[in-house]
Symmetry: C2
Subunit: 298 residues, 2 copies
Amino acid sequence: MSKEEIGERFRELQLFICAELEKVDGSAKFSEDAWDRAEGGGGFTRTIKNGNIIEKGGVAFSIVHGEVNEMMRTQMKIEGNSFYATGVSIVIHPKSPHVPIIHMNVRYFELDNGTHWFGGGIDLTPHYIIPENAKVFHQRLKTICDKYNPDFYDRFKPWADEYFTIPHRGESRGIGGIFYDHIVSDSTNSKETLFNFAIELGESFPFIYGEQVAFGKDKPFTEQELKWRNLRRGRYVEFNLVNDRGTKFGLVSNGRTESILMSLPADASWEYGFVPQKDSNEELTLNFLSKPVDWLNI
Amino acid sequence: MSKEEIGERFRELQLFICAELEKVDGSAKFSEDAWDRAEGGGGFTRTIKNGNIIEKGGVAFSIVHGEVNEMMRTQMKIEGNSFYATGVSIVIHPKSPHVPIIHMNVRYFELDNGTHWFGGGIDLTPHYIIPENAKVFHQRLKTICDKYNPDFYDRFKPWADEYFTIPHRGESRGIGGIFYDHIVSDSTNSKETLFNFAIELGESFPFIYGEQVAFGKDKPFTEQELKWRNLRRGRYVEFNLVNDRGTKFGLVSNGRTESILMSLPADASWEYGFVPQKDSNEELTLNFLSKPVDWLNI
């Protein structure tokens, strides 16, 4: 399986996900920007806004290749002369505070010396955490993981808990999910296994999100719940701009800013010293975010 | 002049500025949070919201002291065993798109080996840039600079242009102002000169901002101008979380998060691929932000 084939399949995956997300939304359609990268490669950034469900979202695909530069050598510890990287990235910000924000990424990296690896994951950020829904989300991920390697969920779930942390807030970004990086194929996990795992995660994404959307989409919401949604979006912005390694690497390495920052919400809020009311749903959610939770066994 | 005296004068400066800003606003009052730092020192964070003019703002004072840690040694290149740092920091986000955002900081740093230095500055971020108003702002700063050292403005103005840049956007944050850091007293600039310069900057701040407020506060605004205000606030958030060295250092060094992030606006917006209309005021402002401007001679 060549890097070009993987790139082509990722592009198909992007188009499949967009078509399915349009069905989930029921109203808005994606539009597409094609872009070139001066140093090699380019991408198609697909964005959607002002839908029934989705207020602002993006599904980005890119293939970038070129010389391994100094930053990649020092920050990514990459040894090699030239690289090829392709992936699909998604962030969806829904309108309703009762529908969660979701993020997905699958990516493949290859060096001219033949070394190659996969990374990716899916994680969910409900504005209001409902344990039964969180459990369903994690069950879906575990079912996929188990098809490829019985160790994947137990390795990748804590990895997400660690990655999607906002240290300066002492909070998780959401209920986590799975995250993995730099997984090299070997006798246990063949290249095909890792690729098929990435594709199945991607193809399952619209169903997994659609299910979470269905849980909350018909629930009415108040002005106060919208305010809370925007405060949580503020935290999402903080994570993405301060903590997310992919975003930071993209911005300092002269990536396409509009594609990288498609992850930001339409609106976000900050309030100095905000503390939710005692025993409110907002406080309940904050409590869940204070430490990793074993959602499968809650 | 001892470090304790400088700390006391900075605290007085904070209180003076808050009293004067309340007059500029005409309605809202500051409230104060006192906090302690486990490793030594603490501060008073004063915040204001929902005023006539000011939607969200803060004037923070802190004195922190303790052992020089590894991060300070490597990132700040500090040689010494213990340090003492005190300063006043301000960010004001106004309601009206025709009133600019403003930021000010004055700070003093001293090591146990007697080494000490000053830093600070004032910079302005109009949502809509009006060259005559920008010129007045820079004239005020130059007048203060010239009283202390005829070289200050010419050194500190380009320093602000460089510092308040958002590289991933290819934009300045605003019209700049002055910025200086690590200015050690010597035969040209005595400790008293540098201290008095910091105090005069601080004491002039409410007048300088009040003047800019007066230029725009009675101008009516549209929904579209509010939308643009929020997009510019989005850029402000990006600068503070991605680029501002003080914010980044505070967050990774276990500073008081709510005090550090009091710089963020009540609301901010992002829109994928937003491009202002040709020949609009929004486009005019973006053009001004594309490179440093000699505002005194515009």
